[in-house]
Amino acid sequence: MLDYAIQTKNLTKVYGKGHTEVTALSDATLNVSPGELVAVIGPSGSGKTTMLTTIGLINEPTSGNVVIDGMAVANDGWIPGLDMKRIRREKLGFIFQAYNLIPFLSAIENVMVSLSLNGINGKIARKRATELLDKLMLERVKDNYPSELSGGEAQRVAIARALANRPKVILADEPTAALDTANGKNVMDLLKKLAMENNSAIMVVTHDSRMIEGFDRTYEIHDGRIVK
C-alpha cells in the first residue's frame, strides 16, 4: 500500500437520496505510483470530476477507501479526526481549468500564498517561488498580475503554485482546456518534468484527446465506472 501515491478501492459517491439518488462514482479502484502521470478521461457527467474531488478530499465518498501518500483518509466516509485542509495543504497540489489565480496577487505572490499557508513566509518563500517560476520560464512576468499574463503563462503560474509545497499528489482539472495545442503540450511537458523531479504523482482529468499520448496510463470512466 505504501508504494502508491494514490490508492482507491471500491470508491463510490452517491448524491441525493431516494428517488433523487444519483451514483456519480461506483466502485472505482485505481492506484497511482509516485512520479506517474495518469489521465482520467470520459464524457461529460461520467464522474471524472467527482473522482478528482473525492481523491482531492473535497467530496466525502459514500463508501470505499482512499489512501494518499500512505495515509488512509477515507474508509466508507472520511476517517474521523483528520484535518482534511491540512492534508490538502501538505500532500496535494491542484491545477484548474481556469487557472484560478488570485487576481489581486502578482504571479510570484500567487505561488507564495501557497507556501504561506504551510507556514513558509518571507525570504524563503520568495526564493522558492522564484526558483519555480524560473524553471517554468516565467522570470520576466513574475511581478505581473494574472490579468497581465497570457493563458499559457497563467497556467504555468498555477503549476508553480501547485508544486510549491512539493506535494506527493497533483490533481489537475482540465488543465489544458483553455489553451491552444502548442501551449497545452508545453504546459503538460513542464508539469510532467517538474513532477518527476519532485517524484509527485499526477492525476489529470481531461477530455482533451490531444494530450492523452503523453500520459503513462489512462483510466476511462463511463457512468461512474472505470471501464478501461
Partner: protein, 400 residues
C-alpha cells in the same frame, strides 16, 4: 502576506472612492458630535468667561440665561455685603437684531460694569472698552471692523475691540457695552415716549382726590422719574471669598434679600439639561441614524466584495486555507474600510470645522469613542460577509 491589503491595493481607486463616501458620512457624524459639544460650550461660555461663582436673579426664576430676570441695579450693594461675597457686579443681557448692509445681524448684547467683571475675556484686536459710553467690543464672528459704528437704541456705538469664541446658546455672537449703555439700549424710551409717559402719569395722579395741586405738581415728576428708571440689571454676578461655603451664601441671599441665588454649577445644569436637551436628543438621533446607515453601507460593501471573491475564496479553501485566513480576509477589509473612512472623515472635519456657522468642538474623547464605535460596526458588518465566505464550497473553484 496580507491578502486583505493586497486586494485593497489592487482595487485601490474603487476602494478609495468607497472609503471617501463613507468618510463623508463619518465626517457628518463627527460634526454632529462637535456641534453638540459646541452647544454646551456656547451655553456655558458666559458662565465660564465671567468667572462668577454665584448668579443672583429675580426670585422664582432661573435666569438670566434660561429665563427673563429683572432686579434693581442697587441690589448689587446688598449682595456685596453678604458675608462670603468678595465682589458683586451687575450684568445685563439682551438679544438684538439690526439691519447691517441690508442683511439682518443678530447678536447677544452684554452690559457690564467697567470696574466690575463679566466683560470680554479676551481682546484679539483693538482694545477693551475704557469710556463709559458709546464704545463696544464685538465677537469676531460678527465680522465687524474696528471703528465701525452701529446704531443701538437711541445712540451710535463704535467698535473699539474684537473678541473671539463668545457665542450664545442660540448661536448669536456676543457684543459688549458698558452696563449704563446696555440699560439705555434696553430700557430708555425716546423723547416722545417720555413725554407721553409724563402726561399719562400726571393725569393719573391728578385724579387722586386726596392730593392737593401742590402735592400733585411735586409728585408727578418723581413718579415719572421712578417709572422711567433704567437702573435695572438682569443678574448680579458674585465672586466668593476663598473658603466660603456657597450653600450658606445662597441661603442667606434667598432668605434675607428675597432673590434667587444660583451657583455656576447649577446654571450649567439649567443650561445643558434644560436649554440644549432637545438639541442634544435631536443630534443624538441623527448620529444614531447615520451610524446605522454607515453600518448598512459597510455591510453591503463587504458582502459585495465577498461575493466578487467567491472563486478566490473557493480556491483558497481548496488549496487548504484555514477558515481563519478566509474570515480574516473579510474582517480585515471591513476594518480597513472603517479605518480609512474614519481617517478621511477626520481630515475633512478637521479642515472644515471652523467654517461651520456654529461652533463645532472636536473633543479627543468623542473622536476616540467614535473610532471604537466605527470599529465595532465594521466587525458586525463583516459578519454577513464572513458567513457567506464560510459557506463557499471549495468545489466551486473547479470548472471553467
Amino acid at each position: 502576506m496580507n491578502l486583505a491589503i493586497r486586494d485593497i491595493l489592487y482595487h485601490k481607486w474603487r476602494f478609495i472612492q468607497t472609503s471617501f463616501g463613507l468618510g463623508l458620512l463619518i465626517a457628518v457624524v463627527m460634526s454632529m458630535g462637535g456641534i453638540y459639544r459646541g452647544l454646551i460650550a456656547d451655553a456655558t461660555v458666559a458662565l465660564n468667561s465671567t468667572g462668577a461663582d454665584l448668579w443672583v436673579v429675580q426670585k422664582g426664576t432661573v435666569g438670566p440665561f434660561a429665563e427673563a430676570s429683572r432686579l434693581p441695579e442697587d441690589a448689587k450693594y446688598r449682595i456685596a455685603e453678604v458675608p462670603g461675597i468678595a465682589q458683586a457686579s451687575g450684568l445685563s443681557f439682551q438679544n438684538i437684531q439690526i439691519t447691517r448692509y441690508t442683511k439682518p445681524l443678530r447678536f447677544f448684547l452684554v452690559g457690564y460694569e467697567l470696574d466690575g467683571f463679566g466683560g470680554p475675556p479676551i481682546i484679539i484686536a483693538g482694545r477693551n472698552i475704557n469710556q463709559s459710553h458709546y464704545e463696544m467690543v464685538v465677537d469676531k464672528s460678527m465680522k465687524m471692523q474696528l471703528g465701525e459704528t452701529i446704531r443701538l437704541g437711541l445712540s451710535d456705538y463704535t467698535v473699539v475691540g474684537i473678541t473671539k469664541g463668545m457665542v450664545s446658546v442660540s448661536g448669536d455672537p456676543y457684543a459688549y457695552v458698558s452696563l449704563a449703555d446696555a440699560q439705555d439700549i434696553q430700557f430708555k424710551d425716546d423723547n416722545n415716549a417720555i413725554r407721553n409717559n409724563r402726561a399719562r402719569i400726571a393725569d393719573r395722579i391728578s385724579k387722586v382726590s386726596i392730593l392737593s395741586p401742590a402735592q400733585i405738581s411735586q409728585l408727578a415728576p418723581l413718579v415719572t422719574e421712578i417709572a422711567g428708571s433704567t437702573h435695572i440689571v438682569n443678574t448680579v454676578a458674585a465672586k466668593l471669598a476663598p473658603g466660603t461655603d456657597i450653600k450658606e451664601v445662597q441661603e442667606t441671599i434667598q432668605r434675607w434679600n428675597h432673590y434667587q441665588a444660583i451657583s455656576t454649577s447649577e446654571q450649567e445644569k439649567i443650561l445643558t439639561a434644560g436649554m440644549i436637551q432637545k438639541s442634544k436628543m435631536q443630534l443624538s438621533l441623527f448620529r444614531s441614524i447615520l451610524l446605522i446607515i454607515s453600518a448598512v453601507i459597510i455591510t453591503l460593501i463587504i458582502y459585495t466584495m465577498t461575493m466578487e471573491k467567491i472563486r478566490v475564496i473557493a480556491t483558497l479553501k481548496l488549496i487548504g486555507s484555514p477558515n481563519k485566513v478566509v474570515a480574516g480576509l473579510v474582517l480585515q477589509q471591513s476594518l480597513l474600510i472603517g479605518t480609512i473612512a474614519y481617517t478621511i472623515g477626520y481630515v475633512i472635519i478637521s479642515l472644515t470645522y471652523d467654517k461651520f456657522p456654529r461652533r463645532v468642538e472636536l473633543i479627543p474623547f468623542d473622536l476616540a469613542a467614535l473610532f471604537v464605535i466605527v470599529m465595532v460596526i465594521c466587525v458586525f458588518s463583516s459578519l454577513l460577509g464572513i458567513r457567506k465566505a464560510m459557506r463557499v464550497d471549495s468545489s466551486q473553484a473547479l470548472g471553467g
